[in-house]
């Protein structure tokens, strides 16, 4: 029995050393490319299995008007710093045109007034941010399927890209420390957030990889490089889904700038970072390998999964 204390000390010591080594080891492992690729197979499996489970007619749950969130939390970019956008906003988007182009037989442009005249769909749906929170809003807009049908996709069309107005980074300078700083604090300090618990989180330099939605560091402005604007992509399964709309109204009123005026994507059954705000141009492509860093979206380029159903 005299062995007891030393054995206990041995066990405690060994577990402490093992725990520390394991933590450091996991971090190092998580930074190796082969292991990252291995981990990503989990997300590939998510896409594969969810596509098996969902039919084209599986609708995201729709809610009653009474369920609408009193405040729909704007996330990411809340006021695009870009001059062309500001000019459009000043003129109440009267000069705005949505462009539909790329691998289509009949590219076209439509003004906001023309979009409003098209058949619309209204849905009260839940918005799930990748960070974990949810909000319910009522959206009215043009089904994306109608626009794509009108443009007539070419046979090689595979993806629909959404190019947005808001600048996120400035090209080569991306990844700098002030950039990270801004990405974090901008994301987590939404104007008007009444909850102190939510106002100061992840505001440090290590928060760069936290995608909340559309947010950037364009405020730091003067840095060089070509601007990297928010963009997203859908495959044709989600693009033609009946609940996929380009919304111009939120909760029965014109979409506010903080929530993506004049036009934002609503692709229910997907997380928040797919719901691109400030959509300017729709481009139908065969592959997005040549766009941005080639991962299919701004947050995808930062490491987030292209498939955002979970």
């Amino acid at each position: 029995m005299s062995l007891r204390p030393s054995r206990r000390a041995l066990l405690t010591g060994a577990s402490a050393v093992a725990a520390a080594a394991m933590l450091g080891g996991c971090d190092r492992l998580g930074n190796t490319e082969w292991f990252q690729r291995t981990l990503k197979t989990g997300e590939d499996a998510n896409l594969f299995v969810q596509r098996l489970l969902l039919t084209e007619r599986s609708l995201a749950p729709e809610y009653a008007e009474a369920d609408i969130s009193p405040w729909f939390k704007p996330n990411g970019t809340e006021d695009p710093p870009d001059k062309p956008y500001k000019a459009l906003a000043k003129g109440k988007f009267a000069k705005y045109h949505l462009e539909v182009a790329g691998l289509v037989e009949a590219p076209f442009k439509l003004s906001l007034a023309e979009l409003r005249k098209l058949p619309a769909r209204t849905q009260v749906t839940r918005h799930d941010c990748v960070e974990g929170w949810s909000a319910i809003g009522k959206w009215t807009g043009v089904p994306l399927a109608d626009l794509l049908t009108r443009a007539k996709l070419k046979p090689e069309a595979r993806y629909v890209m959404f190019h947005c107005a808001d600048t996120m980074d400035h090209g080569e300078d991306d990844g700098g420390s002030d950039d990270a700083q801004d990405a974090g604090s901008d994301e987590m300090t939404p104007v008007g957030n009444a909850n102190p618990a939510m106002t100061k989180q992840a505001g440090t330099g290590e928060s760069r990889k936290d995608a909340g939605g559309q947010q950037g560091s364009a405020e730091t402005g003067a840095s060089g490089g070509s601007p990297v604007r928010y963009y997203e992509s859908l495959d044709l399964v989600d693009a033609f889904h009946p609940q996929t709309i380009l919304a111009y109204d939120m909760n029965g009123k014109a979409l506010p700038v903080s929530n993506g005026a004049p036009l934002r994507l609503r692709v229910e059954r997907n997380l928040g970072y797919k719901q691109a705000k400030y959509v300017m141009r729709i481009e139908v492509v065969e592959s997005f390998a040549h766009i941005g860093d080639g991962k299919g979206g701004y947050w995808e380029d930062q490491g987030y999964a292209w498939y955002a159903g979970i």
Binding site: G30, Q36, E43, L54, K73, R126, G203, R269
Partner: protein
């Protein structure tokens, strides 16, 4: 399979201590046990990483930002304080929750501290990659365990209390709280509390945890709307997922503590090689005392 031999005798009392080897854990159980252990640890730590992206919990479908059930944050002080609010009450949790040292040693605004999250830095997408991969591994491993357990009869033997155990439930509870571990033949099977605990973990906590995880997926909610009904909304599912993760962590802590207390090396050998030693004190005939076996 079982070998019996004498190892030690005490001449004064005539007592003989017998050690009997028992092959306790078949290879499938041993492998699935350790894979499960790794999965649970990674899922817990990467889950806390994901939680840290929005360290607050709500009930219902939406986030009521002004009135969370629980929230962690840091104050504007220098150095910042970590604050946790729960059901409207506020606690100072500096260094643990809300604000704790980041990878560089400086105070960072984070829900759970870096030594509890995977990756240790704030990295939501990294946490999600770990979480999904190990969630798949956990589910497939768990299914393999259940399939084997049902076919081999191990599951029934391990987790369903037998009639005599149910009858002696009270005595068993008392033995458990006084940390007296069964010896002899009784040590060959799990006691009634162990069985009930495993039963609840296997067939309540783990399935609820998986379903609550799935209910947080907007695509799964479209495929199976009953998930939202089951949990009373997506934010409640997130809260349930968090609470059940805590209960599972508690189970693991108690499990490991009991492994250590009831003979660490014997238990470890049992779960690594399959062989487990059962100690049994036998008093030879003619010597006073009642045999306890």
């Amino acid at each position: 399979m079982a070998r019996t031999y004498l190892t030690h005798s005490a001449p004064e009392t005539g007592e003989v201590e017998r050690r009997r080897w028992m092959f306790r854990h078949p290879v499938v159980i041993r492998i699935t046990h350790w894979i499960n252990a790794i999965c649970l640890l990674v899922l817990l730590m990467s889950g806390l990483q994901i939680f840290n992206a929005h360290p607050a919990l709500y009930w219902g479908n939406i986030s009521t930002f002004d009135t969370p059930l629980m929230a962690m944050s840091s104050t504007e002080d220098d150095p910042p304080k970590g604050v946790t609010t729960m059901f409207g009450k506020t606690f100072d949790t500096t260094g643990w929750l809300g604000s704790s040292a980041g990878a560089d040693g400086e105070p960072a605004d984070r829900g759970f501290p870096s030594w509890l999250t995977l990756p240790s830095d704030q990295d939501l997408t990294g946490g999600r990659s770990w979480h999904f991969f190990f969630a798949w591994a956990f589910v497939l491993n768990g299914l393999a365990y259940l399939l084997y357990g049902v076919i081999s009869g191990q599951l029934r033997f391990r987790v369903i209390p037998s009639r005599d155990q149910v009858r002696h439930f009270g005595a068993s509870v008392w033995e458990h709280v006084t940390l007296r571990f069964p010896q002899g033949d009784e040590a060959k099977r799990y006691n009634v509390i162990q069985k009930l605990t495993y039963l609840v973990v296997l067939f309540v906590l783990l399935p609820v945890q998986v379903l609550a995880g799935l209910a947080m997926s907007p695509a799964m909610d479209a495929a199976f709307p009953f998930l939202l009904t089951l949990f009373d909304g997506r934010q409640s599912a997130r809260t349930v997922h968090f609470v059940v993760a805590g209960l599972l962590a508690l189970f693991v802590i108690v499990h490991v503590a009991l492994v250590v207390l009831s003979g660490f090396w014997n238990n470890m050998r049992g779960m690594i090689t399959g062989w487990f030693v059962i100690e049994r004190k036998v008093v030879p005939a003619g010597v006073a005392g009642e045999p306890r076996a």
